[in-house]
């Protein structure tokens, strides 16, 4: 049903696109809005033929639109009630009013069903409501309509802390789960804020920092789960966000939280209202700004921690509720909080009802957290489509490097030496040492190092191409969700192809992966015409969350074949073989050669589509060729080492900082660096805990994520306002 609302929202957006699609004048000045992709507009020079408009505040949206939103809200409510009724109808055999009689008076089976329906609904309503309020509080705090517990990494931090404690101090996890989650939430939120602080909480940087912290912490959690698979067994279903209840304990706990939070928020309303206008004004009026901020952060951390320690990670509900509140144009803080509570409650209630209704159909347990993750992608797309109406400070993080000459042969030799060393200095049966065992090196070590090298190369090129094409230094196949799309395509192909009578072989999986990547790319192109490219990064968050949700479902299905596929998708070079690795190298080199051929038109394209067209570049064919190239690169590398690695994001910047400023130099140097980083990541994954292994993709994500956080911190931001 969330889909329905979103549909509706989309309809609203498109019906108004004629008047709203023009970029606001302020954002036109920024580099990022003049996305080359928008060149696909019939108009050759979009900025010039559109009358500059003053940025419109969100609540000036026409009455027709607001009427439609209220209709959407009404539909949401009706659908929630209807799904609840359908659920009761399906599971409850006694009269409906028996649902409310005290549990102790029912027989066991009825009591279990009652708890399953009523207690679960109560928990869903309260947890959803609390997450909605948390997101609005965060948005008031950082004045960013995209802030939420999900996008700022609050939930992931709490989850990782719980995971670590569960693994190593289980007794603490039983009795102190809340405090542990609280500390984790505070740390990850602090990290995101610390990263965004130098740019004065610039909206884009804040969300980016949240995104990277999210992926980084998830990668760390992934390593822990892989290595302590047996101990984190019970964690799996908790991490997926199961809401189903078999006691009133959680409901009571959340109800108390909601009441206490309401009481705490009451005195905060006035200072928050003042602060929402202007911090300086508020300060002059005697509002202790920093005190209020600290208090809000603490409230957010403790409430998120509570919800997470009780029901697990539930993504996007807070963001969805807060976005609906923004869309409705409610301005008073108290009303915003109340509306967020109601909307969050409804959204999560509807989700859990749908999940419970689907369970008997699919014959498996469906965690609400996974379902919200899957529904998160359409939500985000709807959000960014709305976003173009919002007045928001746009920035382009500028990454500059000094132009220096690069001795490519030195880099080449270093990379070759690295591959060699990775094959020679290893741990084997006898421990660490130099191994001169030719046979094993050629059969096992070299193929894996070489396939890591090939994927590093491909991801690096894809990153350079995407960053130049979108003129967005934060673009990369992983961040934009192209790799996740490829992985989703592979999973769906694996699940659905047999039922279509096709065998799920390497060839068919390649095609399904490629179609996934192309689908995401097409979506990005479509969106790029409508919104500033900075927001495209959010698509990546959404699609990655969708893939996460699907993966959780796959894990819970208990099918060992799928589990084997999951470990493959986690990005390991495990299955590299001497007979096939040369194909991969071949593909990588061919694609590399193709991208070298396309450098010249790409560089012209990088100046802007108008200029490019004037200089005689066939813009559309070149763009299309580039996109197909990027899709091919992403799919090939995803199939080899999995979707999340940050190589494509990090290596182009590394190349720039080493002096390869011009595209002709950046591309080959990035390719070499990509090879180097990936080979190192693969080597670490294979030998540090020999004979056990960590996937190269996960190691690369941790290296790349850490580097990127460091980069974001240093980045000089060109604020254009």
């Amino acid at each position: 049903m969330t889909i329905n609302t979103i549909h509706h929202g989309n309809a609203v957006s498109s019906s108004q696109s004629s008047e709203l699609s023009q970029p606001t004048s302020e954002s036109k000045r920024t580099l990022s809005t003049r996305s080359s992709l928008s060149s696909q507009n019939p108009s050759p020079n979009p900025p010039s033929n559109q009358a500059p408009k003053t940025p419109r505040p969100k609540n000036t949206s026409s009455t027709a639109s607001s009427g439609r939103l209220w209709t959407a809200l009404f539909i949401l409510m009706v659908l929630s009630l209807w799904s609840a009724w359908a659920l009761v109808d399906q599971e409850w055999t006694r009269p409906v009013r028996d649902l409310l009689i005290p549990s102790a008076q029912l027989d066991i089976a009825s009591m279990a069903t009652q708890l399953h329906i009523v207690a679960t609904s109560v928990v869903a309503l309260l947890a959803g409501g609390l997450l909605g309020v948390v997101s609005i509080l965060l948005q008031q705090l950082v004045k960013n309509p995209l802030a939420s517990d999900t996008t700022l990494g609050v939930g992931v931090g709490a989850q990782l802390a719980m995971l670590i404690v569960t693994l190593f101090l289980p007794s603490l996890a039983i009795y102190g789960g809340l405090y542990v989650a609280f500390v984790g939430a505070l740390i990850s939120m602090g990290l995101v804020f610390a990263l965004a602080a130098p740019s004065r909480f610039n909206p884009l940087i804040l969300i980016l920092a949240g995104l990277v912290v999210n992926i980084l912490l998830a990668a760390v959690a992934n390593v822990l789960v892989l290595f302590f698979a047996e101990r984190s067994n019970g964690m799996l279903s908790w991490a997926a966000g199961f809401l189903a209840q078999n006691s009133w304990h959680t409901s009571t706990m959340l109800a108390i939280t909601a009441v206490v939070m309401a009481l705490v928020c009451l005195p905060l309303l006035k200072p928050l209202t003042l602060m929402s206008l202007d911090d300086l004004q508020a300060k002059r009026l005697g509002v202790p700004i920093n005190g209020i901020r600290t208090l809000v952060v603490l409230i957010v951390a403790i409430v998120t921690a509570l919800v997470i320690s009780e029901v697990g990670l539930i993504g996007f509900i807070g963001l969805g509720a807060a976005s609906l509140v923004n869309a409705l144009g409610i301005s008073s803080v108290s009303k915003r909080l109340a509306a967020a509570f109601a909307l969050g409650a409804l959204l999560l209630w509807l989700t859990i009802n749908v999940a419970l209704l689907l369970e008997p159909i699919l014959d498996m347990q469906i965690p609400a957290g996974a379902l919200t993750g899957i529904l998160g992608a359409p939500l985000i797309i709807w959000l960014i489509l709305r976003q173009r109406r919002e007045r928001i400070e746009t920035v382009t993080p500028m990454l500059t490097g000094k132009h220096t000459s690069i001795a490519f042969w030195r880099w080449g030799i270093t990379v070759l030496a690295l591959i060699m060393l990775a094959c020679l200095f290893v741990q084997d049966v006898n421990g660490w040492g130099l191994s001169t065992d030719w046979a094993i090196a050629q059969q096992y070590r070299l193929p894996r190092s070489l396939s890591a090298a090939a994927t590093g190369l491909m991801l690096a090129i894809a990153g350079v191409l995407l960053q130049t094409l979108t003129r967005n230094p934060m673009a990369s196949p992983e961040v934009l969700g192209v790799s996740s799309g490829a992985a989703l395509g592979v999973i769906l192909g694996f699940l659905l192809l047999p039922s279509l009578g096709l065998s799920a072989g390497a060839g068919t999986l390649l095609i399904s992966g490629l179609s996934g990547a192309i689908a995401v790319l097409l979506l990005i192109i479509w969106l790029a015409r409508k919104v500033s490219s900075g927001y495209l990064l959010l698509v990546g968050i959404g699609i990655a969350a969708m893939m996460d949700g699907v993966m959780h479902m796959v894990k819970l299905s208990g099918d060992p074949r799928l589990e084997a596929m999951l470990s493959w998708l986690s990005g390991t070079t495990y299955s590299a073989q001497p007979s096939t690795v040369w194909y991969l190298i071949g593909i990588a080199l061919i694609l590399f050669a193709l991208s070298l051929l396309i450098i010249k038109p790409l560089r012209v394209l990088g100046l802007g589509t108008g200029i490019a067209r004037n200089l005689g570049v066939a813009v559309t064919p070149v763009t299309l060729a580039l996109l197909v190239l990027v899709a091919a690169l992403s799919t090939a590398s995803t199939l080899a080492v999995g979707p999340l690695s940050f190589i494509g994001l990090m290596v182009p910047h590394l190349a720039t900082s080493l002096g390869a400023v011009r595209l002709e130099r950046q591309l080959p140097l990035a390719a070499l660096l990509g090879v180097g980083v990936m080979v190192i990541a693969d080597w670490i994954g294979r030998y540090v805990i020999f004979p056990y292994e960590l996937p190269a993709g996960t190691i690369a994500a941790i290296i790349g994520g850490a580097y990127f956080l460091w980069l974001i911190r240093k980045v000089p931001v060109a604020v254009s306002r």
Binding site: S103, I108, A109, M111, A112, T113, L115, H116, P170, A173, I174, L226, E230, R231, N233, G234, S237, F242, A244, Q245, N246, S247, H249, M364, Q365, L416, A417, I419, M420, C423, L424, D428, V429, N430, L434, T436, W438, A439, I440, A441, Q442, Q443, Y444, R445, L446, P447, G558, P560, A564, S567, T572, Y574, Q577, P578, S579, V581, F690, P691, Y692, E693
Partner: protein
């Protein structure tokens, strides 16, 4: 008899060659070898032989593993079911996967100290297998993706699982006999089957003495406080209970892995005199959550109804899992219901 390609030969190349030269040499040779790997498989097999001997002279612990007489077949089994059954037969494999958590999940039989850890079960370290004097890899259907990584080492699939909707004793004796054929010692397998049957009968008698009134069991493993797997007719519990003259109560037909996912409330559908067996390991957190559950409190297991907790047994294990299951059952502590 499979050829043993592991031999002792001359010590390895001297390492006094300058390091850089060695590096270049390696790479060029590696590249040359891999480029034509398809045509040189025989050659590389020879090299594998040599390489083993080089390694062997390098390490003392290595020779320990190979101290067996030359006519035995060295088996590596990433799969626990085969590894456990082989160990119980008295013919332990030289290597298996996830050794560090064996005790937690498999328990008995305990592995010999000399066993080598192959790393993650589903991703056995092929590089390590190649360095070991392995003559045969025994795995099953779940390990197919790793098959083509074993190089020249032959691999055989032995699967302990129900052929139809109900697991039978024959589904477990068949693969055990096949293991006997693979190690070229069918008598060992036959003796083990006879002994297993005796052990299970003995365990059954002991159990009968302790809890004469308990005849029906339901077997579950908790995923979290609310969700669990109930093991049904096509799981290994069926033949074990059949041998012990006990009845396995189920709620539905299982999937291909022998279980059906149920919720805690579904347990109410079981008869009052059915004894609930919970398979360990159960995390302390889940345990606390279960105790907290209103449904669990009302079900009254350990009080009005009979329940017990069984030490870990590898659910997808072979014959040895049946025996350890019976052994565990003979010493289990049951509480409540028919047990009191």
């Amino acid at each position: 008899m499979r050829p043993v390609f592991y031999q002792y030969k001359s010590p390895k190349l001297s390492i006094c060659v300058p390091l850089t030269t060695l590096k270049w040499l390696t790479v060029s040779i590696c590249l040359a070898l891999t480029a034509c790997s398809n045509t040189t498989t025989v050659k590389s097999a020879d090299q594998l032989n040599e390489s083993h001997s080089k390694n062997a002279t390098k390490a003392d612990n290595h020779t320990d593993d190979t101290s067996r007489p030359n006519d035995t077949i060295n088996i590596a089994s990433p799969d626990w079911g085969n590894a456990a059954t082989l160990t119980a037969m008295g013919y332990p494999p030289i290597a298996t996967g996830d050794v560090r958590v064996w005790d937690r999940w498999v328990g008995t039989p305990s592995l010999p100290i000399s066993i080598i850890d192959l790393g993650i079960r589903y991703q056995p370290n092929a590089e390590l297998i190649a360095q070991l004097p392995v003559d045969l890899v025994v795995d099953n259907f779940f390990y197919q993706h790793a098959r083509n990584l074993y190089g020249d080492v032959p691999a055989e699939s032995v699967m302990f699982a129900a052929k139809g909707d109900t697991a039978t004793w024959a589904d477990y004796t068949g693969p055990t006999r096949k293991l006997g054929e693979l190690i070229d010692n069918t008598k060992l397998a036959e003796d083990y089957i006879t002994k297993s049957q005796q052990d299970i009968n003995l365990a059954s008698k002991r159990f009968q003495q302790r809890y004469p009134k308990v005849n029906k069991f339901a077997v579950v493993q908790f995923a979290d406080a609310n969700n669990m797997r109930m093991y049904v007719a096509n799981s290994l519990f069926k033949p074990a209970f059949d041998q012990m003259d006990k009845e396995l109560m189920v709620l539905g037909k299982g999937n291909s892995w022998g279980f059906v996912p149920i919720r805690m409330g579904d347990l109410a559908q079981l008869d009052k005199d059915t004894c609930l067996l919970i398979i360990d390991p159960l995390s302390p957190i889940t345990r606390a959550e279960i105790a907290d559950s209103l449904v669990w409190q009302r079900l009254g297991y350990g009080d009005a109804r009979c329940m017990g907790e069984l030490p870990p047994v590898w659910i997808y294990g072979g014959m040895s899992s049946l025996v350890s299951l019976a052994d565990n059952l003979s010493t289990v502590v049951l509480k409540g219901g028919a047990a009191s």
